[in-house]
Amino acid sequence: MIDTELNPEHDPFVERIAEAARRPVAIDPEAKARIFAAIRAEPAPVRGRGAWRWLSNPRFVLSPIGSLVLAAGLVGIGVFLGARNRTGRDGQPTGQPQTVAAAKAQLPVSDASVKQVFVFVAPQAKRVSVVGDFNQWDQTATPLVRVNGTGPWTVALPLDAGRHVYSFVVDGRWMADPSAPLAPDDGFGHANSVLVVTAGSAL
C-alpha cells in the first residue's frame, strides 16, 4: 500500500521546487564573456618532455606482476644480447670451441701481440686445454687440437708481450708445461708455468 501523502509526485510543495529547478538558467552574457576571457588568458600547456610526462602522468595501468615481468624481460634481453657478444680479454670469443685455424685467423690482435704455439704431449688424453691470465683461466676458452689426430696437442695463440702464467688442463687435471719454467705455488695447490713474451719471440 502506498501512502499518497508521501508520494512526491502529488506533493504540491515538491512540485513547485521541481518546476523551479526545471527552468533553464540564464547566464549573464557579460559574466560568460569574462569566464572565456580568463580561460583564454591561461598559458597553453607545455609540449615536449614526453618521457617525464610519461613517467609522471600515467595513462595506463600495469599490475605489479606485469611490471615485474616487464622489468625481468628487459634485463633478460640485456643479458642475452651481452652473452652473444662475449669476448675474451685477448679479443677472442669465449665459451665456444676454438681451433688452431681460428686462432691464426684472428692475428694480429695488436702490434704488441706475438703468436705463441702451445704444445702438450698426452697420447692417452681425450681433452686438453690451456688456461692462463690471457683467457681468464677459462677451461673452455682455448682447447688444444691433436695434430693429425694422433700427434701432440697444440694451439696457436696471439699473446701480448709480457709475462704470462698458464697451465694445461688434461682431462680435468691441472698440469704444468714440462718445457717451461714454473711459477711458485699459486697458493691454491698447483704450480703454474710461466711464459715471457717479448716482441719477436716465439715459444
Binding site: 613517467l55 600515467p58 651481452g82 662475449r86 669465449t94 665459451g95 704450480a191 715471457v196
Partner: protein, 219 residues
C-alpha cells in the same frame, strides 16, 4: 602505485641497457662469483694498486685463478692481498722503470722466498741492462725452487749476468742447459757454474767460484 611501477620499469630498463653496454667488451666479470665481502675487498685492493701505479692484471688474474680452482672467497682474498704486498715490495726494489712483467716476476720470487728484497735490487733495470728482468727472475726462481740450485750460487750469478746486459735468450738458454745437465746427473750448483762459464764473455761473472754445499746434488 602507477608512478612507482613506472619508475621501477624505467630503472629496470636503465639497468638492462647498462648491463648490455658493460657486457659488450667482455664477458661478465668472474669476480661476481665470489661472496660480496671478499669481492668488495679485492676491488679495494685493485683500486689501491691503481693508486700506487702497480699492475692490476696479475692481481685480477690471481683472483680469477682462485675462482676457477674453486678456492673460497677468503682464500682468494688472502692470495690477492699477499700478491699485492709482494708487488709493492718488488716496485720498491726494482724502481719505477720496471715493467709489469718484472714486477710480477719479482713478486713471485719474493713470494716463494727464493730471493730477498736486498738481492732483488740488483735486478733493477739500468742503462746497460735489458729492458726487463722478467725472464732473468723467472728462470732464477725456477732453478732455485724446482731444480735444486742453491740460492747463494744462483742469485749472484744471475744478477751479474743481468747487470752485464744478458738478454732473455741467454737466460733461457742458460736455464735449459742447466736443467739438461741436472737431468744427466750433474749437481745443480755445478751445472750452473759450468754453464755460466760457457757463456761467451761472461765466464768470470758472478761469485760462483766457491759453490755452497748442495743438498740436491745428484752425485
Amino acid at each position: 602505485m602507477n608512478r612507482t611501477v613506472r619508475t621501477a620499469v624505467a630503472i629496470a630498463a636503465s639497468l638492462g641497457c647498462g648491463m648490455l653496454h658493460a657486457q659488450q667488451p667482455g664477458q661478465p666479470d668472474p669476480l661476481f662469483k665470489l661472496d660480496a665481502q671478499s669481492r668488495v675487498q679485492i676491488e679495494a685492493i685493485l683500486d689501491s694498486a691503481r693508486h700506487d701505479s702497480l699492475p692490476g692484471r696479475p692481481l685480477r688474474s690471481k683472483a680469477y685463478e682462485g675462482i676457477v680452482k674453486q678456492a673460497n672467497g677468503q682464500q682468494v682474498l688472502r692470495e690477492v692481498r699477499k700478491l699485492f704486498g709482494d708487488l709493492k715490495q718488488a716496485r720498491a726494489a726494482l724502481g719505477p722503470a720496471a715493467d709489469s712483467g718484472a714486477l710480477e716476476a719479482g713478486a713471485d720470487a719474493l713470494y716463494a722466498g727464493v730471493i730477498k728484497p736486498e738481492d732483488l735490487v740488483k735486478f733493477k733495470p739500468g742503462p746497460k741492462t735489458a729492458a726487463s728482468p722478467a725472464s732473468a727472475l723467472t728462470y732464477l726462481s725456477d732453478l732455485i725452487q724446482y731444480r735444486g740450485v742453491a740460492r747463494e750460487d744462483a742469485t749472484p750469478a744471475f744478477s751479474k749476468l743481468w747487470q752485464d746486459g744478458a738478454d732473455d735468450a741467454e737466460f733461457k738458454g742458460l736455464w735449459q742447459s742447466v736443467d739438461q745437465d741436472i737431468l744427466s746427473g750433474v749437481s745443480p750448483s755445478t751445472a750452473l757454474q759450468d754453464q755460466v762459464r760457457k757463456i761467451p764473455g761472461r765466464g768470470r761473472g758472478g761469485d760462483t767460484s766457491s759453490p755452497s754445499t748442495d743438498p740436491h746434488a745428484h752425485g
